[in-house]
Amino acid sequence: MGSQFKLLNKTAMKNCLPLWVNASSPSYRVSRYSPGILQVLLVMIVMNFTFIYDVTAGVTSEIPIKKIPFFRPITGKITNSKNEPVSGVSVKVKETKTGTTSNENGDYSINIPNATGILTFSHIGYADKQIEVASYTTVINVRLEENQSTLNDVVVVGYGTQKKATITGAVSSLKSEDLMRTPAVAATSALVGKIPGITARSTDNRPGNGTSIQIRNLGAPLYVIDGVPYSTSEGATSFGFNTGISGQNLFNQLGLEDIESISILKDASAAVYGLRASNGVVLVTTKKGKRGETSNFNLSGYYGLQNFTRFNKPGNAAQYVRGRLESEQNLGRSPSLLYTKEQLAKWEAGTDKGYKSYNYFDMVTRPNVPQYYISANASGGSQKSNYYFSISHVDQDAIIKDYKFDRTNIQANLNATVFKGMQIGAQISGRLQKHHNVGVPGLDDYTNPLLSISSMWPTESPYANDNIKYINQTHNINVNPATYKNDVTGYVDEMYRSMNVNLTAQYDTKFGLTLKGLYSYNYTNEDFDGFEYTYNAYIYDPITDSYNNRSAAGALYGNQNPWREKHKRNIFARFAQIQANYSKQFGDHSFSAVAAYERSDNENSYFLVHTIPPNNTIPTQLFSNQDVLIDDWSTEARAGYVGRLNYSYAGKYLLEVLGRYDGSYLYAPGSRWGFFPGISAGWRISEEPFMKRSGNGFITDLKLRASYGETGSEIGYPISQNRSVNTNLYTAGGSAPDPFSYLPGYTFAGTGVDDGRSAVLDGNYVIGLRPRGLPITNLSWVKNQSKNIGIDIGVLNGKISGQFDVFERKRSGLPAARYDVLVPSEVGYTLPNENLTSDATRGVEGMITYSNKAGAFDYAVAANGTFARRRDLQPYKPRFGNAWDEYRNSTVDRWSSINWGYHVIGRFESLQDIESYKIDNDNQGNRSQLPGDFKYEDVNGDKIINALDQRPIGYAEGTQPYVSFGFNGRVAYRSFTLSVDFAGANMQSYFRDNELKYPFQNNGNSPAYMFEDHWRRVDPYDPGSAWVGGTYPAFRKDLTTHVNYNPIGGSRSDFWLTNVHYLRLKNLELGYNFPKSLIDRMGLARFRVYVNGTNLISFDNVKEFQIDPEISLGSGLIYPQQRLVNFGFNVSFK
């Protein structure tokens, strides 16, 4: 410190303001403790003079005070509670107009115009902070406390990202940790119950399968993975495998741990995806490393045990035999010809040789079947690049022996700055997926084993004479579970190999414009290899103690139908996009804009060779045995121009305008392209001064949102408008138009209904050609108008937050026939459908979360719910023959998928009751009725039950429930975390059919509960004996036409139709984090173990049918969801 300071006494020194320094410490302190700092200038104002003193040079100059600006710079770094920099924080000097924002490193600098002042720091998602600037302070580092809300989350939206707080559309998102909480094999299953607006139904859960999800019950959504939209064409092969080409499948088959976030675009926010976005969009983003981050290496895995949630148990031999006797009695045949009284007694005793009861449920299924998962990933980055690498493997055995599924995923996401402003990147994901089935004759190999449970007679043994060397020639050898082994009946291996490469380049200019390019190439190959062996079966002859493999007539038992097939499907999907983004802020006005052009196409080719193998030994296919070859091909192509503008004023008034000009190959050249605009606006009321002023901190966030958007749907055919069909099996999506239907021409040698059929003429096979129908040139996409009004609210500093939306998607131009132009049927063709009718899906959704800390407890609870239902609005010029026709069949402004059927009002109690009953219940004067049969309600009072007595009894079957809801809870206490997820649904119908309806269906057995509780006579041999009541009607084997099962005029009655509701504990997880002191010694950053249960409990109304509440197959013979209990760990290495 130089001598000049000696001029000043200590008091004077206090009046000196250290104003301008280029080091991080106050000069006052510099002067006293750190004299070595270079280039420290000290400016002192004494009286009206300013002295500038160069500490290093020891020079003081004197300048008149007016010559330098009077300001006081403050700098600092803003971090959050995790010590991460927070950018974009608004820093203001209270009661002045001075303000700034923090940069991407969290640094800020601001000049205070007065000697003292108060700095306010505010940022969405963080509690506001005020700091008084003390004298001599030049650096203020701030740590902001996060709001409990997630407003500061960056959410991926179409063509960019936005802060949750400023989003104006109905967008929900889910982060990796919420996804990973459910140990799902397929990603869709991990979404269930966690997001408002998502409706889910899991109808077939064979290993590897996902859950059918829809957004607001609009139909199958569009999946966009890392910015690339994929095909929406869904399909499964007749073997039950997914065709693997759709976005949904690609999503399902990603490594679950590689997903960073999922955004669901539900309203106009989806319109930016145009022609295919009408059902909403699922945006998936994979993980990336962070720049400047030290390397992370994580290992995680679990091992779990699976069991069926529910599956109906078949009757035992005594029940079966007695039931068969009752059926013979009820059908007026002689029961004793089937089983004598002595035989019945022996079966009921079950002790004599040959009178043993077999339980085929136990034979087909296994308890506690393993499922495991292991994953390793590494991520990190330098200043100029970042990376994420992962490899994972999931392995799921089926409850049925020798059936399994496994999948290995790799993901490599790289990004590097090659020169200033220029980044290039690649996202590479690869997948190897294998299904292994036993090669059961018939197509879908899962069908027969489940069918066996119901079809096998409990009186017959799977092995002749119970000798496991000899498969028994049972009444239907095809469903004898003894044959379901790789080495008996063969195998089916299905392999997917898929590689997806995205290459990206991005150039950031200095003036806010960013240019991006993306090229994506997806190659998916399916390889199918199936071999079904012939095998022998035997009948034991106790007289000669021999096992005979052929009948007395000489025909071989067992299966003599060999089958061999290999097929290949190759799918190439290409996508290219160029995009420009611009953003700029002028004071309180902030703008951003996106413009993009993109195009995509794919080709799907399929090649099949089928042979009839001469034996079970030769492993390859030979030309000499070939009998089928299929060469199939399809394509899709689309292109679109995208534009979007965002404007916000002071973070309060938000506006988004977007549009897309989109084209699809499906339509004739004149009607290919369409423009799809969208607009949405938001008002953050909580940012208004009046809210801030009155702000007692109660309402911390309040935003109103409204949106309107137009999208398209590539729908070609009307959706279930066949008025004679009562099943209402309705797919919200509708099916796509046939490609190339705008072209005239000829089909040849296909397998479709309209394909040219080949014929054998003069011994030669002649490939058939068929003229196609009229070219469809006047049909275009269906127009959708999506409206949404929503409110986002945060209360108590975000401890409570909520999001509520009311929405409608109106579709107009749904294809239908213009039937008032009646072209005679004799012309031989029908007029193509035109875009004529309309419907709407309307609903509400919402979620509310509450999170807080209480001592060592850190907890959160959340609830979400969705109601969405389709309503038919205006069909094309409806007409009705009479009032009943209108009542029964109208689709004018009425909820869709009303399930019509009969009310069962009681049972015939006795023969006298049948005799004296005045209503003709069966259209045969009640001749076919027995005690216990259903009495249907004669609604119109005409004394006869027929179609006119149908009334609404339920909702759609087989599709998404109209109401879905979920509850999520999480508690953390010290090192323990407990989380629960409930999911539930209401307003869906399940129709019991076939095995769950007809006794002895398919010449088989029936569920035990049906035997235990049905109408019957006390003595099956005595037609005069008394009747005993029960739940199910009296048995009549194979009489499926009976009015109990199929009332006159329809098949549905509210006995067999159940309006299912359920609430199930999807997930319960208890985790433990090893304490830091321990893992430090182990060299770990994190070590967590957990135990997790899936589908542990279900509260529902189908328990008595012993079915999972989410299945839709009427027979119940479908692979249900699993009750999975697993043990897992996550380790992060330092």
Partner: protein, 628 residues
């Protein structure tokens, strides 16, 4: 971005060229190979009530749904359904009025389009080619009209493509129904016009195509169509109240009967006398011979037109898989669906000319008749029985098809038999011998005969042809000489040329094992029975009963009418130790088939199928059929 711009070189990204459609019209109509492909498609789309395949397009076009349904064989009185899942076929309370309905103007349109396009585009075709293809197309069109008229009565006669111009005024496209007679006349005149234009036959070798129309195919269609028209003209007017409409859409004047019969007879005679065809007589086993007459493809000069299949080219069907006898099935599923009825079996006469009723009881009805073998009861029957059905103990594919329902155990104390039947097939009784045979029959088990009989006709004799993997390429015979003989016989009979009539019918009977000139006196009932036994399962019976106007009497919906109920014959092995005349022998019990729960009921409104409401809506000039 380079890739992107490279890709943008394509003219229009959205213009894709389909690889699974031929889009070029003029190429097609100048290439005889492709035109034959068009014909192949049309041949394969010809409708039939039965057939060996199921083609159900109801989901696409309600008026084309019944193109071929082999399962319909189970719906009348010649058989029942013994398979799974379709027990409604055994429980029809009545035939619905829309049964047999077709309105397949899709095929008519396609044929008219082809006829016009050959003229319009076929610039490089030779005149001969054009004539040949056009004649063949006209044959197909006439056959399609025949299929419509026999189900619906007169239908609009459309012989040109009807093009709608999107003007909103389609009235000009509306045509009323033609008279029933006009459609038959059209078929007759078309066949006259084209018969000499059709090739597909070689006069030098006297070999004609059996799968494409030739002169004699045209005549065979004419023979059948004119016979139908003649019998409609005659028998409809013999009804208490003839079924007619004012405009003649339904109902043919009785005065035209003779003319139609004469035309039919002339056409039949021309075929019979052509030298191209002869009754199949290549196998000295007359039962096998009759089976081969229908099923054998090579060296068979009886078949005139067939719907052919070829396994080597994957053109095949599962008819044998679905209908082979249970005990000899090669696959582990299906079999036995169509089970022939006792009604049919008993309609085959004994070779001595006596009625075919099977003798199961002693004349005084005090006891069973005891047979040493299950086949004995069928001894000396018309060989066509063997050739059509598999009866208990009959051989097939080198196997004996064992059919036994159970055993009758003598209970001396009660002086009666106790019936014991198995709960499963192929089971043995406590004596170690068969209880229920591998082929049943069984009262309640599915996919095993419920009647005691199996189908032989159309079941493929080839190894493993009853498996799903291999399947069968047995053909479906649309026309054969046997029918032409019967047509000739009936027409001659109706024209009172009784000698000729007996000549033709006796020729068929002689082939079936009867003595020469076995039928000495002819009645329409005998002709009716002869057609039933000769043409069983060849898609004739329903149409025959309709044109003779007896369907409502034979299938009158009465449970007490044995003709309306489908009957079964159950064989039992007798266990009666100490009585060598009976012990170990077989007896037979006749019964209504246990799974039959309703009589066949054909109402007057079934004579002509109802016209779909959509068709009526679309064209106000279409009048309804009676009773609807």
């Amino acid at each position: 971005m380079i890739l992107l711009s490279a890709a943008s070189c394509r003219k229009d990204w959205l213009d894709r060229k389909p690889r699974n459609i031929i889009t070029e019209g003029s190429t097609t109509w100048n290439d005889p190979v492709l035109i034959l492909g068009v014909l192949a498609d049309y041949y394969d789309r010809l409708p039939t009530d039965m057939g060996l395949v199921d083609i159900d397009h109801s989901s696409v076009d309600a008026n084309q749904d019944r193109q071929a349904q082999w399962r319909n064989m189970a719906d009348y009185d010649d058989a029942m359904w013994s398979g799974a899942g379709q027990d409604a076929r055994n429980n029809y309370t009545s035939y619905p009025f829309d049964r047999w309905r077709i309105w397949n103007y899709g095929l008519i349109r396609d044929i008219n389009l082809a006829l016009e396009n050959i003229e319009k585009y076929g610039t490089t075709l030779t005149a001969t080619q054009k004539i040949q293809f056009s004649a063949e197309l006209r044959f197909l069109r006439a056959l399609d009209y025949f299929e419509m008229v026999k189900r619906m009565g007169g239908v609009p006669l459309i012989t040109k493509q009807l093009l709608y111009d999107y003007s909103g005024e389609p009235a000009s496209l509306q045509s009323p129904r033609a008279k029933e007679s006009e459609i038959y006349d059209f078929i007759g005149s078309e066949m006259d016009a084209i018969k000499d234009q059709l090739g597909n036959s070689n006069a030098a070798t006297t070999i004609a195509s059996t799968t494409r129309a030739n002169k004699y195919t045209a005549l065979a269609l004419k023979s059948r169509a004119m016979l139908y028209a003649g019998s409609l003209a005659r028998y409809n007017n013999l009804m208490a109240t003839p079924i007619t409409t004012l405009g003649g859409e339904v109902g043919i004047s009785a005065s035209r009967a003779q003319d139609y019969y004469a035309k039919s007879l002339a056409a039949s005679k021309e075929i019979i006398n052509s030298g191209f065809y002869s009754l199949y007589k290549s196998n000295s086993n007359l039962g096998e011979n009759f089976y081969e007459a229908v099923s054998k493809k090579s060296g068979n000069k009886e078949v005139i037109l067939a719907w052919d299949y070829l396994s080597a080219k994957n053109k095949r069907h599962g008819f044998s898989y679905d209908n082979i006898a249970r005990g000899i099935r090669e696959d582990n599923l299906s079999s036995s669906n169509i089970a022939p009825s006792l009604n049919l079996v008993e309609s085959y006469d004994y070779l001595d000319g006596s009625a075919g009723t099977l003798k199961t009881r002693t004349p005084d009805n005090t006891d069973y008749i005891y047979y040493t073998n299950t086949t004995d009861i069928f001894a000396n029957k018309d060989a066509r029985l063997y050739g059509t059905v598999i009866y208990p103990g009959a051989p097939f594919k080198g196997f004996t098809v064992q059919i036994q329902a159970g055993v009758l155990v003598w209970n001396a104390a009660a002086n009666s038999y106790t019936t014991v039947e198995g709960t499963d097939l192929g089971s043995n009784y406590t004596d170690g011998k068969a209880l229920t045979a591998a082929s049943g029959p069984h009262r309640s088990i599915l996919e095993v005969s419920n009647t005691g009989f199996y189908l032989r006709k159309y079941i493929d004799p080839g190894v493993n042809t009853s498996t799903r993997g291999i399947q069968s390429d047995m053909w479906w015979v649309r026309f054969r000489l046997g029918e032409v003989y019967l047509n000739a016989s009936e027409a001659a009979f109706e024209l009172s040329q009784t000698t000729d009539a007996m000549l033709y019918i006796n020729a068929l009977r002689e082939r079936a094992g009867f003595a020469a000139n076995s039928m000495k006196a002819l009645t329409i009932e005998k002709i009716q029975n002869e057609r039933r036994v000769e043409l069983a399962f060849e898609d004739h019976r329903i149409w025959d009963l309709k044109r003779w106007r007896i369907a409502d009497k034979v299938w009158n919906g009465s449970t007490s009418n044995p003709d309306a109920m489908v009957s079964a014959l159950y064989p039992y092995r007798v266990i009666r130790p100490g009585d060598p005349a009976r012990d170990g022998k077989y007896v037979f019990i006749k019964m209504v088939a246990p799974r039959i729960r309703a009589p066949r009921f054909f109402q007057l409104g079934n004579y002509y199928s109802s016209i779909d409401q959509v068709v009526l809506n679309n064209n106000p000039k279409i009048v309804r059929n009676p009773f609807h």
